[in-house]
């Protein structure tokens, strides 16, 4: 199979979902079964094609990069700047072909799951149409070969995320969440836009390859390394928004207002991981300083997510914060230089987190049906306090959920263990080279917390007794279309897909395929060199593995002690933590803080502008109104004729004259003539003196 065929396949993969979107948006309601089979079928085909590409690429062309591009806009030879043209194109390298499979796989399975989950929804066909639009945009991000297309699809996934979060837009919370997601993402995107501007102004192109080559030969923005760092950080801003990194992470928990499969697809597995993918793509031009920023942002995010997740009761919220935390992990990994580990975690996380969300979807679906049967509309079907004991009722869901939980906690023989272990080793190595020991310490802490809160979730949901025994009998296992995707994800969360050695991924195909790219930035601002880093990681590896197993075990043990065996009372713990618990339960008060400062500030500013416009610039300027009133009092014969202060003096003056003239408007011709004559006399004397 030649490279042309691969490119062709990639184009099919990109545009088939768009075709599905168009078909469904225009004809969806008229198609049999509202067209869900079209959407699912298309995704199935793209999955097949991506798998073909993956195998062919990794087996036949492991080291090559295929690019196909065309000139989209050509400015020609621009005066004072030189030739400018904008190319669009696609690029297939190992990174993108792996991402292709991840995206199409998760998307396909979510489509299948949705057929069961969304049964009977008011906008069933619309839902599948939007899923198609999302798949298209996400695949666009994956296979693009330039910044512009990256940005375009970056915003388009934002759009589809907006549409899907707001799927049930009759609910105020849903439309609020959708709006919040889009706007918060826009903030990040604005930063990314500035970064892209810096790049474009310097290199007159958007294409990754050309930019990397230019930097490699020493062309940097405005001749200063600081600008290069700034460009890197600004591009990373896009990732901050999309991957819900601190300080823009607040939209992701709210986004759980969308349907649960959407949360699995967009807000767990693919779109939020796009930020990580972006960093991986632009890793080449990241300076050491930029990577340091990325590391710490990731670290902070990981901690925040983990700390908040401990105390949440909404099953989806817990998962959302765990997603934030895991994304922080990936970002941090890339920041430290553990490139492969970070990206690996993206891939493994995609399957087990999508699985977790679908599992929670399955639970919520069952709860919802049970509550519906009892006409209970008060009880929240998503609150884990209303669950418990589902193990017996939903065995498939439980078992798969258990595997996912083990994976995310980093227990050996799971995919999560492989990737997490590599990341922790990476942080240790990073610390030993640079001396930032805070990074590994906190990273290990987060690993422990993750194990704890995930098992807390698992235990509260599936173990023990059901909260309300009267509805226990109404809860049933979900149908096959929903459990089969779960089983597939569970299988993918085991180690052997990635490496035959369950205690180290570095010998597997993944590590062979993905290698940390060479940095092209000037040597003064280079990050830790790949070889040095590799050595350090190698030394730290065994330590990291032992520690990570230990810590995960501790977390799990603690969760069992508190929630399963109830040796320690959870309420006592809560009271002991006191304000810390409140802090965590209220999500560290981020939303409140932003509402007061950013949202309030903007609204205040906007009201100020309106006031300024209505009062100062426009309206009757206070002064002119006062003068008008003074004048009318002075004449005493007129109502307060409002001179429309038309902003500037001339308008005011016109009104003023008008007022005087109005006085002369007696309706008697003779009076008018008197005035005419008077003016003639005046003119006479004026011109006489001239």
């Amino acid at each position: 199979m030649t490279s042309d065929t691969l490119i062709q396949f990639a184009l099919y993969i990109l545009f088939l979902p768009l075709l599905g979107f168009l078909l469904l948006i225009f004809f969806g309601k008229r198609l049999p079964r509202q067209g869900d089979w079209i959407a699912t079928g298309i995704l199935g085909v793209t999955l097949l094609l991506s798998l073909i590409i993956l195998f062919v690429k990794l087996l036949s062309y492991p080291a090559e990069t295929f690019i196909s591009q065309f000139t989209w806009i050509d400015f020609g030879d621009v005066p004072f700047i030189g030739p400018i043209s904008v190319e669009l194109g696609i690029m297939l390298d190992n990174l993108s072909v792996i991402m292709l499979v991840v995206v199409t796989l998760v998307s396909f399975l979510v489509h299948v799951f949705s057929i069961g989950y969304m049964q009977g929804d008011v906008r069933y066909s619309r839902y599948f149409a939007y899923l198609g639009l999302f798949s298209f945009s996400m695949l666009g991000i994956v296979i693009t070969h330039n910044f512009l297309m990256m940005y375009i699809f970056w915003e388009l996934v934002g759009l589809s995320s907006y549409l899907l979060i707001g799927h049930w837009y009759e609910k105020k919370t849903a439309s609020d969440a959708a709006k919040k997601a889009f706007i918060v993402n826009r903030i990040g995107d604005a930063g990314m836009f500035v970064g892209i501007m810096i790049i474009f102004v310097t290199f007159s192109t958007f294409t990754f390859e050309k930019i990397f080559d230019s930097i490699a030969v020493g062309t940097i923005p405005f001749g200063s390394e600081a600008w290069l760092t700034a460009a890197g950080i600004l591009i990373f801003c896009g990732a901050i928004g999309k991957s819900a990194q601190f300080p823009l992470h607040t939209w992701l928990p709210d986004a759980m207002e969308g349907p649960t499969p959407v949360s699995a697809l967009i807000h767990a597995a693919t779109m939020v991981a796009a930020g990580v993918y972006l960093i991986a793509r632009t890793f080449t031009i990241m300076t050491g300083d930029a990577l340091m920023v990325i590391t710490y942002i990731g670290l902070i995010t990981a901690i925040i997510g983990a700390v908040i997740a401990i105390t949440q009761f909404d099953i989806k919220k817990v998962l959302a914060y765990s997603t934030i935390s895991q994304l922080g992990y990936m970002v941090m990994a890339l920041g430290t230089g553990a490139f492969t580990a970070g990206f690996f975690h993206l891939v493994t996380h995609a399957s087990f987190k999508a699985g977790l969300f679908l599992g929670s979807g399955s639970v919520i679906h069952a709860m919802h049906e049970a509550l519906h049967k009892k006409h209970d509309h008060q009880t929240d079907p998503q609150d884990i306090r209303n669950m418990g004991g589902l193990k017996k009722k939903m065995p498939v869901t439980y078992l798969t959920f258990l595997i996912f939980t083990l994976a995310i906690s980093g227990v050996p023989f799971t995919s999560g263990f492989l990737s997490k272990d590599e990341i922790l080793a990476g942080t240790l190595g990073f610390a030993s080279v640079t001396g930032h020991y805070l990074v590994p310490v906190l990273a290990f802490l987060v690993a422990g917390l993750t194990a704890f809160y995930m098992f807390r979730l698992l235990i509260l949901t599936f173990h023990g007794d059901h909260a309300d025994s009267s509805r226990e009998n109404d809860i049933h296992e979900s149908p096959g279309v929903m459990t089969i995707p779960l089983i597939i994800f569970a299988a993918l969360s085991l180690w052997f897909f990635y490496s035959f050695n369950p205690f180290g991924a570095s010998s597997g195909w993944f590590y062979a395929a993905i290698e940390r790219p060479m940095s092209v930035v000037p040597s003064v601002v280079q990050p830790v060199a790949a070889e040095v880093f590799k050595d350090a990681v190698h030394h730290a590896h065994t330590l990291a593995m032992v520690l990570s197993i230990l810590i995960a075990g501790l977390g799990i043990l603690f969760a069992f002690v508190v929630y399963h065996f109830r040796r320690v009372d959870a309420d006592r713990l809560k009271n002991a933590a006191g304000p810390l618990y409140d802090f965590s339960y209220n999500k560290l008060y981020f939303d409140e803080m932003y509402d007061r400062s950013v949202v309030g500030g903007t609204m205040g500013l906007s009201n100020l502008s309106k006031w300024f416009d209505d009062t100062i610039i426009d309206g009757i300027v206070n002064g002119s109104a006062a003068i008008t009133r003074w004048w009318s009092a002075f004449t005493g014969r007129f109502d307060n004729v409002v001179i429309d202060g038309l902003v500037n003096f001339s308008a005011y003056f016109t009104g003023f004259i008008g007022l005087i003239l109005r006085k002369f408007q007696t309706g008697k011709v003779q009076t008018y003539i008197v005035f005419v004559i008077f003016s003639i006399i005046v003119f006479f004397f004026i011109f006489r003196t001239l």
């Binding site: 400015f75 020609g76 005066p79 604005a190 500035v194 501007m197 906007s606």
Partner: protein
Amino acid sequence: MELSILGIGILTWVVFLPVLGMIVVLLLPKENGLAIRATTAAATGLQLLLSIVIFMRFDRALLGINDPDSFQFVEMYRWISVDAVPWVGRIEINYFLGIDGLSVLMVILTALISFIGAISSWNIKRLEKGYFSLYLLLATGMMGVFVALDFFLFFVFWEVMLLPMYFLIGIWGGPRREYAAIKFFIYTFVGSVLMLIVMLALYFSVTYVDPTTGEKVHTFNILMMMDPANFEPGTVLYGVDTTWRYAAWILLFIGFAIKIPLFPFHTWLPDAHVEAPTPISVILAGVLLKMGTYGLLRISYPIFPDATVHYLYPMAILGVISIIYGALCAMAQKDFKKLIAYSSISHMGIVVLGMAALNTQGMVGAVLQMFNHGTITAMLFLIVGVVYDRTGKLGLYDFGGLANQMPKYTGVVMIAFFAALGLPGLSGFISELFSFLGAFDTFRTLAIISVSGIVLTAAYMLWTLQRVFLGALKEEHKTLPDLTTRELIAFVPLAIIVIFLGVYPAPAIDLMNASLSYLVEVVRTGGEFVIIP
């Protein structure tokens, strides 16, 4: 390139077809509303058809700007020529039409929006005859402004456009129409007066030698004014970087800035929009605002390159203020139409910023943004018109949940709103992208500040979307009908253009790229250009 129909040049046809329509309308009995509407639609439709012919036949490689030989579809006749007036000399005013890459897109936009406006005027109820004849006169005035190459002719068209607008707002407008119309008129008229002053100053400063008689003739020819060699030594505007030239530039700039409208001169716009009937709002936002920026590019830039370059930075600052201030004001509005009006201010700020960048990307972005803003805002005002026609309400909080009730309408709304907030894949993005890219090249800090505008735009647009279309439907709106076929006819072409130019903007960019690059060259070599970080 020449193209004539019945011996009359195509530009004359394009400009005066509406006047022909107007004559027919005036001859029709006033009871025959259908015939009047059909005539209007036919006249503007033919205008659109001709503008498409122009688009097809337009030579993309010719430069234009200050080179009379590379203008296209040129028509030049002696219009007013008075010999030897005391202390003025020979007065010569030409009927001089022609287009280049700068104006061709505006011609197409004008024809398109005129046609859309005619379609959406269908449900005007009162005094149809007067309305449609004024409307057609307005169409002629607008088109004339974009094709005139003689300053006097330009001015005449400018004023011809002004009067019908005044009456259209003042008679067919909303409850406070007189106030709005007067405000519009006075604002614009102040601008006209300032322009007139500069026009006369230019007239007395510029002469050329008539090749047939050998005598020196004062002229209103814009192209002649662009050549510094034509300025008579000792006249007001002679020289480079003189105070008088700066003053003239500022006067012109204020005149045009009122029309754009740029930050401190913008308050007529919200009032005019709120009061104007829907089609007039469409015209106002779709075409009239572009005259300001077009005037700057056509007149201020090449005639006063020295002053232009000197004042680039203040101009860019005003643009940035407009972007952010307009967006902030829009966010605080409770009236649907006012919100869109302020969003226009914000979007036109982007045009000014792109223009001030004075490089090809920025200029192309700016002119494209003029076009795109024309189509997008036309859609937005039509959207407002749809709910206003059905409910008579404009408050943002009066609605909610229309998405379920009117799905086709909501589809159109989605396209327009997302195009307005610069979503990639729709035309607004392309032009904003290049405006910002260009601006970043010249004014680094300002461009970075202005990017915050796109966040604000997203915020108020989505908020509006939420308030009007999402949420629960109100009881009294349960019977609202979806879009009619006629409304769809108005929306669909615009939506198609918005999507097409978003996906493949090259056809539009190719039209103007050569001319605008040349304009950049002309202006930059005429003054001392510096990059301000």
